[in-house]
């Protein structure tokens, strides 16, 4: 990648969200799993909304999912991104939904329901984040 190529900003990491971004920085896709009732949840949060447990485990996710929705973003354009950005909502096979974006696909080939899988790309300050590409391209 050229030195002046657009590079996306790093995520804002908080004490509540670090579990997700810290794993992503190691090329791992995770969600919180409640140690009380086993329920998966994303975005991360300190308490289980089903059983009020504060105990969490980290569930490793496969990165396989289907495209629930998408949006092809043309305007306005921010210098940190290449346009059009193809924003994506991915329903992961474990049952949690993730907002991300698609790479390695033409905007005209994007279809709701298409199988996608995660890979990781760098951000401005270095940390990796999960984005998705069509599974057929494997």
């Amino acid at each position: 990648m050229a030195a002046d190529a657009p590079i996306r900003p790093s995520p804002t990491v908080t004490d509540d969200s670090a579990v997700f971004w810290d794993a992503a920085a190691e090329c791992r896709l995770v969600a919180q799993r409640c140690a009380g009732c086993g329920r998966l949840r994303h975005p991360p949060r300190p308490m289980c909304p089903a059983c009020s447990s504060l105990e969490v485990e980290i569930a490793e996710l496969s990165g396989q999912g289907t495209l629930y929705s998408y949006a092809i973003l043309h305007h306005p354009q921010h210098p940190a991104f290449e346009y059009p950005v193809i924003a994506a909502l991915v329903d992961l096979e474990e049952g949690v939904r993730l907002l991300s974006c698609l790479t390695d696909v033409s905007k005209d080939d994007v279809r709701i329901g298409m199988p996608v899988h995660a890979h990781f790309v760098p951000t401005a300050d270095g940390p990796l984040i999960p984005v998705f590409r069509p599974s057929e391209d494997l």
Partner: protein
Amino acid sequence: MTGRRTLARGAASIVGAGCTEFSRRAGRTELQLACESITAALDDAGMAAADVDGIVSYTVDPVEETELVRSVGFEEINFSARIPYGGGGSVGVLQHAAAAVASGAAEVVVAYRAIRARSGASRFGSAKTAPSPTSGHSGTTAMQWCMPFGVLTPASWMALNSVRYMHEFGVESADFGRAVVQLREYAATNPAAWGYQNPITLDEHQESRWIVEPCIHLLDCCQETDGSVALVITGSQRAADLPHTPVRIGTASTAGLFEQEIASDHYRPDLSVMDGTVALGRRLFEDAGFSRDDIDVALIYDAFSPILLMQLEGLGFCGFGEAKDFIADGSLALDGSLPTNTNGGLIGEGYIHGLNLVLEAVRQLRGTAVNQVADARTAVISASRTGAILTLD
């Protein structure tokens, strides 16, 4: 939950309404804009600043209460509140004002919003890569999950829902366009509107550039606007002695559901339905005892045209997926079954973050709107997760 509690019906009324001009460059601060609209609203109500003992606005409004009090000359404020949820909370100011009046917490409440969405330090629709500085109390914490992926603007957040809606029900961009053509027709005869004397055709809508493909063309977007709107609310008994026919707050409510966010509302299971608005419709109609058939005019938050269709469905004015046919039948026009956004809406008139829709509802019920619905007696206002029914009855 046992039973459905609702606001005391008609206990409070809107007795004054005021605004500044709506422009793309106000040339003065939000504080001054708020002072001007509040003074206009108090004049309209036949009241003075000293009559006011309550103030309500949005969490995202930049005007500080202390500065407002020392500028307008309020003498003693006994109640103040700010509503979260951004524009989705815009009608919540009526719920809080009415609840304050009904409970005795305050006697006269001013609700206001002042905004420089166009000329302010940051354009409202611009691409931002960090949650706004108001993060913790404006509901934008969730946007940390959007920013690293380039999903930076209100249009991009809402588009993910809109595309699923199109997919689920076979809705096309032209279906949104037909709504926009109607809004611009209303705006064309409204001298206060950005779109005054400038109606559009469906072809012009379709040819305007993509903001977000395949759901939001440029002409599907509201206009970032500078300006302010203010309303004066008091008890309906006192309202009877004031200059204008009181516009009663028949009911006002909020519906916030589990996992619901604001514009970045992506975690409810089925995004093709605005189920927060379904709950709001139940609160306004079934729970509060109003009938959809009694509604003479609707004001529906249209920051982007897809959410106008989705709210029509959520509120129950047509079936899910049927708003496109409802609109194609001319329902939103003055002679239609549900005249809607008769000021041109946020798309045609301007974007005072939703509060100009409340202003239009007041004008309709007073009989002073530029696109007047004959004998309008009952109006519904929806900002998707907050809403109200205003009535003369």
